[in-house]
Structures are given as structure tokens and as C-alpha cells.
């Protein structure tokens, strides 16, 4: 009888403990997440930009998403500027060393998209300082 009582009390403590443990875990998981600007609609386009990837909406966009973003982030495209030849060489390099598949008939459309939308501009030997956010300096 006494053993049964002790057992019941222990069980109760265990259950209450578990309840709080789960509650705490749920809360900490929740607070780990931040607002992330990602659309749940994978086809959404806003101001000429494909929201999910940040790629410019233009002819060939969906081929680029299909071929280029299964291994790496689209950010590797959007932060780069290369000539048609440069993009072609990059594809060749990925095929030779990074397991990129043969793009077949899609290659021309992919290269054209990249060369047209992510072409270099001449920035000279040193650009002016830009995007300066002015603020009052107080020591």
C-alpha cells in the first residue's frame, strides 16, 4: 500500500516535470524563429523580382531556377555579374568539377538569361563611396 502511494507520487512528479519540459521546449523553439521574408507562394513575382529566389523575372527564369538552384542558393547568381562568355565558362566549370548535369537544349536560354540580366557594368578602377547612411557622431 505504502509502496503504491510512493509510486503514484513519483509518477505524478514525472508527469508534471514532463509537462513543463515540453512547454519549455516549445517556447524555446518558438523564440528561435524570426520573421523571414519568404513567400509561401513559390511563383510570386513582385516589382519584376521572383520573391522566393530574388532572381529577376525575365525569359528563362524558370529554367534557371530549375537548373541552378537545386544545389546552391540563387544568391550566388544575384550577387555576381559576368559576361555571356563568363557565365558559359562558369557552367562548364560546374559541369567539370561540381556535378552539374548537361543542360541540353536549355543551356542557350539559361546563358542568355544570365548574360542579359546579370551583366557587368564598368565600375572603373575605384568607385565612389555610395549608399552612405549619414548619422550624427557623438562621442
Amino acid at each position: 500500500m505504502r509502496q503504491k502511494l510512493i509510486f503514484s507520487v513519483l509518477l505524478l512528479i514525472l508527469v508534471i516535470g514532463l509537462f513543463f519540459l515540453i512547454l519549455r521546449n516549445t517556447q524555446s523553439t518558438t523564440s528561435n524563429y524570426q520573421k523571414i521574408e519568404t513567400s509561401t507562394d513559390t511563383t510570386a513575382i513582385e516589382n519584376g523580382v521572383h520573391i522566393n529566389t530574388g532572381l529577376i523575372e525575365a525569359e528563362g527564369l524558370h529554367l534557371v531556377i530549375a537548373h541552378c538552384t537545386s544545389c546552391h542558393s540563387a544568391k550566388l547568381i544575384t550577387q555576381n555579374r559576368l559576361s555571356k562568355e563568363g557565365w558559359q565558362e562558369t557552367i562548364k566549370w560546374m559541369q567539370e568539377t561540381q556535378n552539374l548535369w548537361d543542360l541540353g537544349n536549355d543551356e542557350e536560354a539559361v546563358v542568355n538569361y544570365l548574360a542579359k540580366n546579370y551583366a557587368p557594368t564598368d565600375i572603373g578602377r575605384r568607385a565612389s563611396l555610395k549608399n552612405i547612411e549619414w548619422y550624427s557622431l557623438k562621442d
Partner: protein, 395 residues
């Protein structure tokens, strides 16, 4: 549903059609700032793989804390790391006998040292090259100088025994290739044996006195300060002692190599005409104030920052407020140890109202200074050590 909406931070259109138990894409990827304990002002360059850089004003600390340390990954960070089963194997053509150590054995068997070591990505500053070079477009924030604690690679190599024909070492890591191909290493670089045997070349367990953060190589990182940070392999599982230049991933082609002889911008360079980058060039960064400061006329401006010179020492740092026409010396401190960055400071008087740029220029112990324009163009945009500039307005 309302919980999920709150988490996403927006109303989920067609939310009632979401299958039960389905996590919206927005929540599948954890926030990198929380994930890696980075400051919110750090800039994400790439999210697959993770690459993140600091801004100049974030690097004001003498010793870089984790929250401001850049992340450069070539593949996926290893998962399910078990320190109890983690081993390091020393192998290759030039070891007398292959030998494996547990992490615990490495920690107890060899003496531990702490050094403050400068780690700069070879491509730091790539974004300024013209014509542009491909890769992550680093601006100025792929540089750190933290305290690293570990054992000398030299001590382990002595314990293993290496042959006289050893000329290079190459590291092998636990990260995985973006394609998931297990036969491919995302990166496997190394250094000549002379660099491997330096006092400061260590296998580190700790960064700034704590376990190395996962993004920076937990539980074991090779640290070879003053060289492109890619030589400091993360998540090390083995090291090959080679009788030739290590030929692992990203040791060939245009990776971490520059033309042996200078070329005109945009030139195609053959593989055999490319040379591996070794010591990083002289460079400096103004970490205070943040660019864009408005000051009142008559107020003095204090500037400060760090300078580093690869294998060498920094002998002088100067500043200019007139686009390099005249230069004035800054106060410069000695390094806390070899291969650590050095701190400089100065009090600047600006002569009138208007727009000014403060430029910093450091000189190394061999007399080489930073260029004011971009240095020699190279196919992958490495080694941009052009002087740092901040904008100031006197109002």
C-alpha cells in the same frame, strides 16, 4: 493556424488549405543570426552554403568576438558531431606510419598554446574588381582576429614522424559537398611544410576561450594565421603529409591562385601560369567611426582601427583627408603575438565644413604599402588590399 501565422509574421493566404503537420517553407530554414549567434548587422552573402561578412564598424574590438566573425563555407556544415568518437588521422606519402588520435588524446598528450591570429578570406574585397570576378562578393568584412587555443601541428607531426621528402600538408574535413556527393570534398587545402611547422600553426579546440562555434570548425580547426583563411581548414578529420604540393579540392585552377606574372584586367590566364596565394598582403581597416559620421565644425575626430600584414609586421599606418595628397602618421601598437593584427588610432582635424573622406594606408616591415586604387586584377578577384575609406561630413 494562428500560431503559424504569428511565426511567419504575415497572414498565410490559403492557410486553411495547408496540410496538417506541414511546415511552411518560411520556417524550415532557421534564422542564420540566431543559428550562428551573429550580430544582426552582419551581411548574408549566401545561404546555401552559408557565407556572411561583417561591416567595418562591427570589427572595432581588439579581439574579434564570434558575433562579428565572418563565415565562409564551401559546403554544408557537418551534422551530428560526436566529440567522443571524433578522431584525427595523420597520413600521406610522407609520414613514417599513419597514426590516429582521439580528440581527448590530442588534448592531454600535447601542450596547448593560445595565439591571436588574423584570418582573412583570400577573396575579401572581391566586389571591387573590374571586370567583376565570380564568387561571393565580399566587400571588406571577411577578416577576423580572434584568440585560438590548441596544440602545435609541429608537435603532432614530431610524434607521428615525418619523412625528409615532406613538402606540403593538406587537410581533410567533415563538411559535405553541396550536391551531396560523398566522394567529393567541398574544400581540401593546405600549406607548405615550413608554414605547417611554425609555432603559431595550431590545431585549435577553442576560440576566445570557448568551444569553437560550429560554423567556425568545431571541434577541431587548423589555424594558419596570415594566410588566406581557406588554409585554416574547419572540422578537421585528417591531415595528409605530402611529398608534392597538395592537390585537394580548391588547390588548382583559379581557386586561391593568382597569375604568377601580372596581367591586364580581364586577361584569360592558363592554369599553369597561376600561383598559389601564400602570405596575405598589407591591409588596414578603419573600425571607428562608422562611415557616414556627421560632426560639428571645430570638433576633433578620433579614428581607430586595425592593420595586418600576413607573415610580416605592420611598421606604419597613416591617414589622409585629401584623397591621398598628404598623409599623417597614426599611433600604432605592437601585435599581441606574431600574426595578430595591430591597432592604430589618430586624432584628425578637418579644416572646414563639407564632405571629407578619411583614408587609411598601412606599410609592412618590407616597406610595401597599400595601394589607393585596386591592386593587380586577377581572374577570381583575390588580394584586394586597396586602402579603406570612410565618408565624413562637417556640418
Amino acid at each position: 493556424m494562428s500560431t503559424i501565422t504569428a511565426l511567419v509574421g504575415a497572414e498565410i493566404v490559403f492557410g486553411h488549405l495547408l496540410p496538417e503537420g506541414y511546415t511552411p517553407l518560411a520556417l524550415q530554414e532557421k534564422d542564420p543570426f540566431n543559428l550562428f549567434k551573429k550580430d544582426k548587422e552582419m551581411r548574408v552573402l549566401n545561404d546555401r552554403p552559408w557565407n556572411m561578412e561583417a561591416q567595418a564598424h562591427l570589427l572595432d574590438d581588439d579581439i574579434t568576438p564570434n558575433e562579428f566573425m565572418f563565415i565562409r563555407n564551401n559546403g554544408f556544415i557537418p551534422k551530428n558531431i560526436d566529440v567522443n568518437t571524433w578522431n584525427l588521422t595523420i597520413k600521406g606519402e610522407s609520414v613514417k606510419e599513419e597514426k590516429t588520435y582521439s580528440l581527448a588524446a590530442l588534448k592531454s598528450k600535447f601542450k596547448q598554446y593560445t595565439y591571436q591570429l588574423t584570418l582573412e578570406c583570400g577573396g575579401n574585397g572581391r566586389s571591387e574588381f573590374n571586370p567583376p570576378a565570380k564568387g561571393n562578393q565580399w566587400t571588406i568584412g571577411a577578416i577576423s582576429c580572434a584568440n585560438w587555443t590548441g596544440i602545435r601541428l609541429r608537435d603532432i607531426l614530431k610524434d607521428v614522424g615525418i619523412k625528409d621528402d615532406a613538402i606540403y600538408i593538406g587537410y581533410h574535413s567533415a563538411d559535405t559537398h553541396l550536391t551531396g556527393d560523398k566522394s567529393k570534398a567541398p574544400i581540401s587545402r593546405g600549406v607548405p611544410i615550413s608554414k605547417a611547422l611554425q609555432d603559431e600553426t595550431i590545431l585549435a579546440f577553442k576560440m576566445n576561450g570557448e568551444d569553437i562555434p560550429i560554423a567556425h570548425g568545431y571541434p577541431l580547426r587548423l589555424v594558419a594565421g596570415g594566410w588566406p583563411a581557406s588554409a585554416s581548414g574547419k572540422w578537421i578529420t585528417s591531415i595528409s603529409i605530402r611529398n608534392k604540393v597538395h592537390d585537394g579540392a580548391k588547390m588548382k585552377g583559379s581557386s586561391y591562385r593568382v597569375p604568377c606574372k601580372p596581367v591586364a584586367p580581364g586577361t584569360k590566364v592558363k592554369d599553369e601560369d597561376m600561383c598559389i596565394i601564400e602570405s596575405m598582403p598589407i591591409k588596414s581597416l578603419i573600425t571607428y567611426p562608422k562611415t557616414g559620421a556627421l560632426i560639428k565644425q571645430g570638433e576633433k575626430l578620433t579614428i581607430r582601427g586595425h592593420a595586418w600584414a600576413g607573415e610580416l609586421e605592420v611598421s606604419e599606418v597613416e591617414y589622409s583627408i585629401d584623397y591621398g595628397s598628404t598623409w599623417t602618421s597614426c599611433n600604432l601598437k605592437k601585435a599581441s603575438n606574431r600574426l595578430a593584427w595591430q591597432h592604430f588610432s589618430a586624432t584628425v582635424t578637418l579644416p572646414s565644413k563639407g564632405y571629407f573622406e578619411v583614408w587609411a594606408r598601412a606599410t609592412d616591415s618590407n616597406g610595401k604599402s597599400q595601394p589607393m586604387l585596386l591592386p593587380g586584377w586577377n581572374p577570381k578577384g583575390y588580394l584586394n588590399n586597396a586602402c579603406h575609406r570612410i565618408a565624413i561630413k562637417v556640418v
